[in-house]
Symmetry: D2
Subunit: 344 residues, 4 copies
């Protein structure tokens, strides 16, 4: 590809970020088409200028002849259909996670994109956070030897609205899925078994919505080593995103990003700033980096840094976690995979 001509589907929070990043930063990529059913052409033009054709219908944007890549930033429920349409149209695809809440559909999509040969990248943006990338590079370079234990702390700064929760697919599929992907990414290992505990501690309305707000998940890798992930929907001190990898020759810890680097000492204590509490601030650089690498992979015909298969694995783990929680026992991924293969 000489130049990446993008159809951006969905101008919500994430869509806007991608729009701004692409138009400002990448000379060899352009947003040529935008689709969003909640805007009209005039509104779009007044807010974003005349650089891109506007459509209400995403299919038309996908079908725009100039377009050679599609960015799917629409609500989760529409991801699968749009991926299929883009794949059928032979356009490269960047899709926000997850491909779909259903494991079967996810597996089918990965198969489908494989058949069409279109490139597909999943937006597991945390892989592209500079601190986590640095940690992965150190692990891959052998700086701590063989990985023995992975510990991931992932806590949101506050409960999302209950309506959001109802349509989210649940904590494992909506929130912990990032951490499941991170465990695979940081260790470079395949997950074979999941044991998850989940409960409601913050608000009974979460239980009424059929979800949990606190979880502890153990992932067992194929070599028998483990990762443990703890999740909470509400850390009063902010968005808590830390990582620890322990190995035969040392340990890597990734600390939080704080609001500032001022330390105040007074009669009550020594006080540091809280972590950044909004995910778009915390992961500002990762949203830019993932698009940079997507564009780069298209321009230079490289492998996508997060594949459809990565998305499928994360969804599989999330499915297993929910099942494990419900059954109260560890669940092997092999069993679930077999089940899917039969069902599709």
């Amino acid at each position: 590809m000489e130049h990446v001509n993008i159809a951006l589907l969905g101008m919500g929070r994430i869509g806007k970020i991608h729009f701004k990043n692409i138009t400002q930063r990448f000379p060899r990529a352009s947003v040529v088409a935008v689709a969003d059913p909640q805007l009209d052409e005039a509104q779009f033009a007044s807010q974003y200028g005349q650089g891109a054709r506007f459509f209400r219908n995403p299919e038309e944007a996908i079908g725009h002849p100039q377009v050679n890549a599609v960015l799917i930033c629409t609500p989760t429920s529409s991801h699968a259909d749009l991926v299929e349409k883009a794949a059928t149209a032979g356009k490269a695809i960047f899709c926000e996670k997850p491909l779909d809440l259903s494991l079967e559909r996810t597996a089918a999509l990965v198969d489908r994109t494989g058949e069409t040969g279109v490139k597909l990248m999943l937006g597991f943006n945390r892989r592209f956070d500079p601190d986590f990338m640095q940690a992965r590079q150190s692990v891959a370079a052998g700086k701590i030897g063989e990985v023995h234990i992975v510990k991931i702390t992932s806590r949101d700064p506050g409960l999302p609205p209950i309506d959001y929760i109802k349509n989210s697919g649940g904590l494992f599929m909506d929130m912990a899925i990032h951490d499941f992907d991170m465990a695979r990414y940081i260790s470079g290992k395949k997950v074979v078994e999941v044991y998850a505990k989940g409960l409601v501690r913050h608000d009974p309305a979460v239980a009424d919505a059929g979800d949990i707000d606190t979880a502890l998940t153990t992932l067992v890798f194929e070599d028998g080593t483990c990762a443990v992930i703890d999740n909470s929907r509400k850390a009063v001190y902010g968005y808590d995103q830390r990582l620890e990898v322990f190995g035969s020759n040392g340990m890597i810890q990734v600390e939080n990003n704080q609001h500032h680097r001022n330390i105040i000492s007074d009669a009550a204590g020594i006080h540091h700033a809280l972590p950044l509490d909004f995910f778009m601030d915390r992961y500002e650089k990762s949203y830019l980096k993932e698009i940079e690498l997507f564009i780069d992979a298209l321009l230079h015909n490289k492998e996508m840094p997060v594949s459809g298969s990565d998305g499928l694995q994360a969804t599989l783990i999330a499915t297993a976690a929910k099942l494990s929680m419900q059954k109260g026992e560890p669940v092997k991924l092999a069993g679930i995979e077999a089940g899917i293969l039969e069902s599709i």
Copy 2:
């Protein structure tokens, strides 16, 4: 009790520390008798002076008429017999952990001391580390609200000799048992279920000895919240003893004790000192504090800060952890307890 007259059994590493601490620090306590089969009277006198009667046979020390409290610092295999003898003799007991490697024997000892009414304290010294005590006080004072997640990191600085491992009762009973007790102590909650994974990563000789060197254990408390403990026999950067308690209103983290507070910045990085790597340095203050509180409880007829029941619970969790690892599934403590009640 007006004055605590102690028979100290076993003058190994820990016995020596207790001897020194008691003779130097507590005006209302004395070591009046010492027993150690590996010393003779002359050796003892030359090293420790004439302040205490020396015996080779611990029973004679227990029976010494002046003695009203017994400190058991002998090898684990002798703990149970000595506890029974001291209890029968009506002497107060401080016993290094564990009471016994067998759960049944442990339960019987707790019953037995209960019947005799003698005071019994278990040497879970980490509860008396100033940093962990501070954390417990903060939790108990409600500084972080309700406890949702407990995370304990407990890694030794190096593999013990294989001979030690063979007689240790295994990683869960020998090493993680401290962490199991810590999880109960710091949360103030009862453990009801255990899920443990264990494996050998450092030396195949550990496997040959029937043990593991790396473990990850999930404890489920009665309210459904969890603790997770990760253990390794070998952290190349030293003795890693950290704690994190996450609650509805905040988080407490306990950091390692480092060798010094010098930070060196050079062209390669910013370098801090390693953690203290010998347990007797790391827990120097906790060995003193536990004896202070034992003596204090005797002088003022208070409840012991670590009871026989605490010892039994920790042993129960260790037993369950081993069982869980072997069976590959979570184990409920209730089932094991029932089994014990039948067997004794």
Copy 3:
């Protein structure tokens, strides 16, 4: 002003940053003219597009009728002339520090812009670093009470080329001048006396060029409290920019920005990342913020956040520091000011 139409003079490192920031971030500001004698119109258009008129001669850009504000990013030696021309043309001015290396000329420029009534802002960008702004806000809000001691650490990551040093005005005027301004900014106090020591430790060529590479400067404020600033041209561990303010009710410390938040523990120590070592990375946000505030002051007719008088004071301190170093004794600013008033 309804819209800020900027003539940007000088497209070196800083000019490029301002160009990018203004064109991407501020809807109510535009770069309408650019001047740089080292480019030609075709080069400019190919690199920066057609949005702005290009001139080789800065006077023509200043004189462009649409222009209502001038950004001076040219070499220091041209600042004074360009400021005078812009002032005479009645255009608002943003000038990179310093106005001039000569104290007399600086004083005259401040007078001149005062007479013309044009707004003038000096580019002491560090005032707009988020961490230093946060510290200033805390001081101003009284969080540490009355300020008693200010300590500024300011060390470059490496010696600049000797040719640069020769034309720099010397360490005090070129490098420490930022810190002199910071001491005034952070404390909100007037400096009345300076005592400076300076020497060459890194390279004798610095001495040959008539400069120093290491300095320690004490500033005395009007209330008798002090600031101390230590400078070095070469910190092997990177760009060291820290601050400490001690007051009657506490202390504020501003720590360095590090390359990443990974901590590696291995057998040799616990290793953190080095500080950002390039000033344009370290102060990336401050370059954006200063322009934002310049534009904002023009749009809403506010006072400039750094005035010509601030520039004069910093230059005065730098002049006094050099004099103090040469004479080996403290120098009062009042004496120098008197001298200037006579000379102009």
Copy 4:
């Protein structure tokens, strides 16, 4: 010397610490005599046992035939006389700082002990703090190359009683003298010039007592490099004792000792513990170490780790600091030394 038989003069706070340390820790040293005019024999025996002869008169303790070393822990005003008496009696001397408030008398004492050939150690205990020793070793080992800048922060946790201040010799002689010695110790360099600023910020009563409570002192070493020391009598957050050494190959920072290693994160911030705020806690280990090295130097006929000459240099700097503050200009030590030589 085969065994160090000590006469301990003064059983105040420091005397008690030395008594306890010597009696508990050093098999080759004993306190054989104690003198304190505020105790009587019965009181002493009831509190400290029968191990040492008690005297009200320190001269009798010095003269006790068994005594071969004298520890002077009496009020400052008596130091000089007791040092002279011990020197005349040919007994080794450990004297708490300072030898005397008068520079002339100090110089004379150093001469006098030199003539008698008795070993004399000054109690600059901070040199023996493990963290500062570690820093000194790193500097001496060349870990940061050549030393360019030394920064010492030394702030007390609160104003001492005004009566104490009146007899203290003033902030420079009483408090900063430790830091002056530290600057010499850590750098291994000779001080040649002093520039000091001092003022009262906490309590006008300090001014009425003829003293200051806040100071900033620049020391110039013989090679032209500098140290800067900032002092305050009152840091509301506790006892602040930090150090930074910047050199051609890096930097060493010594951080404070904190009360504990708990970090609490809540909605208001991330809170660490305050520094230890009582000097006897903060420097607990240094009081032990200095006596260990004093005894060791006597047993093995080594050079004393802090000599009378070190004491004289620190007093000289303190004298120069006061003079500099009064005159408002830098003061060269050479001038003062010449003055003393004439006067004695």
